[in-house]
């Protein structure tokens, strides 16, 4: 019983940052922009969130700092790719390198410091329920936010006019432009939203996961989140399933070691990354017949003829 609870709690903790980051990226990609800089935005979010909380002793301020860091990083990306029509793949890589370096600079002074972690919910009867109590009703704000975010994104994309316009821009930016929609502005907003989510995802790590800042603590989660968006076929619902699946795989190694199985720790550590490759292969293969589910203008540079 306790084992199940412990496993589920650790899965949720591992999956939440993936879900937050992937959800934001999904919106950006639905508008047609491929932002490979997730890892850089996340690690900046982590560094700034830690710094913010350390300085202000407030989780909320820290989280806000994380979000703002993500937005700022994505703004750089937007200026170059949308404003200057720069290749999106190369820009995303540049953003990752920049973010990794900057976060190291910011976090340098805080290595070894400790902050208090985000409080968890406690409802009188519900949280104490056996088995599911803590899982459903005892989480921190980030977890509930991630679920609310996905629901909100779904409603936005499929039940709102603005979401329809966004999907249209991602499908065919030439047509959208011809109909008078401000393609670049819509994409910029989507990118900034994605940046904010990535920053929040990064903030989760020092604020709720481990109360430290460790350089490189995102450990490739940003890249996995990118793969998650592909896995989810750009649909919010499947994103949740994918995030939890990956979360489960990534903490497998901890529990395997705890169980004392004689598998080399490095092999277990590489499981999430191997799993990502396998999942990408499988998902791309099954789609081959149905055609790509990706937004048709994903990654394509748009310079309006005026």
């Amino acid at each position: 019983m306790l084992m199940f609870e412990a496993i589920m709690l650790s899965v949720i903790a591992a999956s939440t940052p993936l879900l937050l980051a992937a959800a934001g990226e999904l919106v950006a990609e639905r508008s047609g922009v491929l932002n490979l800089g997730l890892e850089g935005m996340m690690i900046m979010g982590a560094a700034c969130a830690f710094a913010g909380t350390y300085v202000s002793d407030s989780i909320v301020v820290g989280a806000l700092c994380g979000v703002l860091a993500g937005v700022a990083m994505s703004a750089i990306f937007a200026i170059f790719t949308l404003g200057l029509a720069v290749n999106q793949v190369a820009s995303g890589l540049a953003l990752t390198i920049l973010g990794t370096g900057l976060s190291g600079l910011i976090g340098a002074g805080f290595v070894g410091q400790r902050i208090s972690t985000a409080p968890q919910l406690h409802l009188p009867v519900l949280t104490d329920l056996p088995l599911v109590g803590r899982i459903l009703f005892g989480q921190d704000a980030f977890v509930y936010l991630s679920v609310a975010l996905v629901i909100g994104i779904w409603l936005f994309l499929y039940r709102s006019r603005a979401g329809l316009v966004l999907r249209a821009v991602g499908d065919n930016h030439t047509s959208a432009h011809a109909l008078g929609y401000p393609v670049l502005k819509i994409r910029a907003l989507a990118v900034l939203f994605g940046g904010g989510c990535a920053g929040l995802a990064g903030a989760f790590l020092p604020l709720a996961y481990t109360p430290f800042f460790i350089p490189g603590m995102t450990a490739g989660r940003g890249w996995i989140a990118l793969a998650l968006v592909v896995f989810a076929s750009w649909r919010p619902g499947r994103l949740v399933a994918g995030a939890y699946l990956f979360g489960a795989v990534s903490i497998l190694q901890l529990h395997a070691q705890a169980l004392g199985l004689g598998i080399p720790s490095q092999l277990m550590s590489s499981l999430p990354y191997l799993a990502t490759v396998i999942v990408l292969v499988l998902i791309s293969r099954t789609r081959g017949i149905a055609g790509s589910a990706a937004p048709a203008s994903l990654g394509v540079v748009f310079v309006p003829d005026r």
């Binding site: 006019r161 329809l164 999907r167 249209a168 499908d171 065919n172 959208a176 048709a296």
Partner: protein
């Protein structure tokens, strides 16, 4: 000074839209030069001109997509400045573009909603859409995704979307370019109805017979200037053509009594599933093209022409080697360059991006099709002088106008680039030439050069296969013409027996040979 339309004068009505001295410059190029135009209600007004005359620019000014450098627009007597299409729509100007602004992965209703102001609820739009479509005889299913629809059905979305805004003026840019003759007739019925409701219609076309049939007034543009305004019914096709082109373009001389020899290209029961899930399945396509003859394949785009071209060129391999035979050798499973080595040459529909790499120089584009069989590559190394020589030969032989000896492909105009591409292939003296849409979007002079070159090539014994949406072109140069519909190829009709009506019926899906019943014919065009 401007011409008042004859109709308008007689009715004494005030023009709905008045364009006064519209001028639009792109760098040193004058797309529109002081054009005056009056549009009246309950009138179908044609805007005639060949490719590059400035028609599209003018209507984009009227729709608010482009700002003129000089001149003004007056709507119902008041001067207007349109900041964008939404303002034009608010006034009551609707436009149906030649290239549709649709979203393939969204539904019909979603597409329509995106083209309308966000004042109505989505359900209301869907209902009104179905209603309007039914009312005008343009049936549409709001829930269908656009990628499933044919070209004619997609155009319906554009038209219905424009009609739902209750336009006083409806502008249509080359609407029948993608329709069969029967579908075009249907469209004319709708337009007649709109005219009867008192709306003004501006109809852009370069098809003179259509204009004579349909339009009350015609304004003719040439080289950016307005040349004349006239009543088409009082003119002949020849007089209209002369005004459009400015001179008598010599009729293409068909070589009479060409020696037609053995079949040099044989397509035998070719069936092929499409690469792209939205593509067309080829179904037992069979055809023979003999040396010395030009065979045409007519048909509205989207019926398998792209897939057939890819199969013929070798960009896609056929299921069996005997499906395609070139000069007696089974080529179905050979790649593009092996077919080129066998003496075949190909000109695809898309000039930039397929036939040439736009940002590469002409010499590299000569290398593109020449590296396999034209002595430009020795032991893996490129012979630059050979590629430049090929460019020079094509330039001289086909009158290619360009700014310097070896510019980037994208810097040439449409007509000149097409002449280069066609010349590049013809200069290889192929035994078989397959060309798709040889004069699409090309000015009349270049078109004549290209068509004459094809005829001359056939005269030298080559088997020439021309795929074209332009019925006039095929009627002009093809010895035999077949029609593609839904991936199937009809039996070819000889030049003697072919008529526009027969081709039209085949393009709409009627079976070869017999005259279909009225119900069959109307059902085939999706009424």
């Amino acid at each position: 000074m401007h011409d008042v339309s004859p109709q308008g004068t007689s009715l004494g009505a005030e023009p709905l839209l008045r364009a006064i001295s519209i001028t639009k410059r792109y760098g040193s190029f004058l797309a529109n030069d002081g054009i005056d135009l009056d549009l009246f209600p309950a009138e179908i007004h044609a805007l005639l001109g060949e490719n590059g005359a400035g028609k599209s620019t003018l209507v984009k000014v009227m729709y608010g997509l482009i700002q003129p450098n000089e001149g003004e627009l007056r709507w119902m007597g008041q001067k207007i400045v349109l900041a964008g299409p939404s303002e034009a729509r608010a006034l009551g100007i609707g436009m149906v573009f030649q290239h549709f602004s649709l979203f393939e992965n969204l539904t019909v209703a979603e597409n329509v909603a995106l083209g309308l102001a966000p004042t109505e609820s989505f359900t209301a739009i869907s209902e009104r859409l179905a209603e309007t479509a039914r009312l005008y005889g343009l049936p549409l299913d709001p829930k269908r995704e656009v990628w499933r629809l044919s070209v004619g059905e997609r155009q319906r979305i554009e038209i219905v979307r424009a009609l739902m805004q209750n336009p006083k003026l409806l502008i249509l840019d080359e609407p029948t370019a993608v329709l069969t003759p029967q579908e075009a007739d249907q469209l004319f019925v709708v337009l007649g109805r709109l005219k009867g409701e008192g709306r003004a219609i501006l109809y852009i076309s370069h098809k003179l017979d259509e204009v004579k049939r349909l339009c009350d007034t015609a304004t003719i543009l040439r080289g950016g200037k307005k040349v004349a305004t006239c009543t088409p019914r009082q003119e002949t096709a020849a007089s209209l053509a002369r005004m459009m082109v400015g001179a008598d373009i010599g009729a293409v001389k068909a070589a009479s009594g060409r020696d037609v020899s053995v079949p040099r290209l044989v397509i035998h029961q070719l069936s092929l599933a499409p690469d792209d899930p939205h593509g067309t399945h080829l179904d037992r396509v069979s055809l023979e093209v003999r040396g010395g003859e030009i065979v045409g394949i007519a048909g509205v785009s989207g019926n398998g022409q792209d897939e057939l071209f890819a199969a013929l060129s070798g960009e896609r391999l056929s299921p069996s080697e005997g499906a395609i035979v070139i000069d007696g050798l089974a080529a179905g499973m050979l790649g593009v360059n092996e077919r080129r080595r066998m003496g075949a040459a190909f000109v695809p529909e898309e000039r930039l991006g397929h036939g040439t790499a736009p940002r590469m120089k002409l010499s590299e584009n000569a290398l593109l099709t020449g590296h396999a069989a034209s002595g430009m590559v020795r032991r893996g190394f490129i012979d630059k002088s050979a590629t430049l020589a090929a460019v020079d030969r094509a330039t001289a032989g086909f009158d290619v106008r360009k700014a310097k000896r070896d510019p980037e492909a994208v810097s040439l105009s449409g007509g000149n680039l097409q002449k280069f591409i066609v010349g590049r292939e013809i200069l290889r003296e192929p035994g078989v030439l397959i060309v798709s849409q040889p004069t699409w979007g090309v000015d009349a002079g270049a078109a004549a050069t290209i068509r004459q070159a094809l005829i001359d090539l056939a005269g030298r014994g080559t088997a020439v296969l021309v795929v074209s949406q332009d019925l006039d072109e095929l009627l002009e140069i093809a010895d035999r013409t077949a029609v593609m519909f839904h991936g199937r190829l009809s039996a070819p009709l000889s030049a003697a027996e072919v008529t526009r009506e027969k081709l039209g019926l085949l393009m709409g899906g009627a079976k070869t040979g017999e005259e279909p019943s009225v119900e069959e014919a109307s059902h085939a065009v999706g009424a």
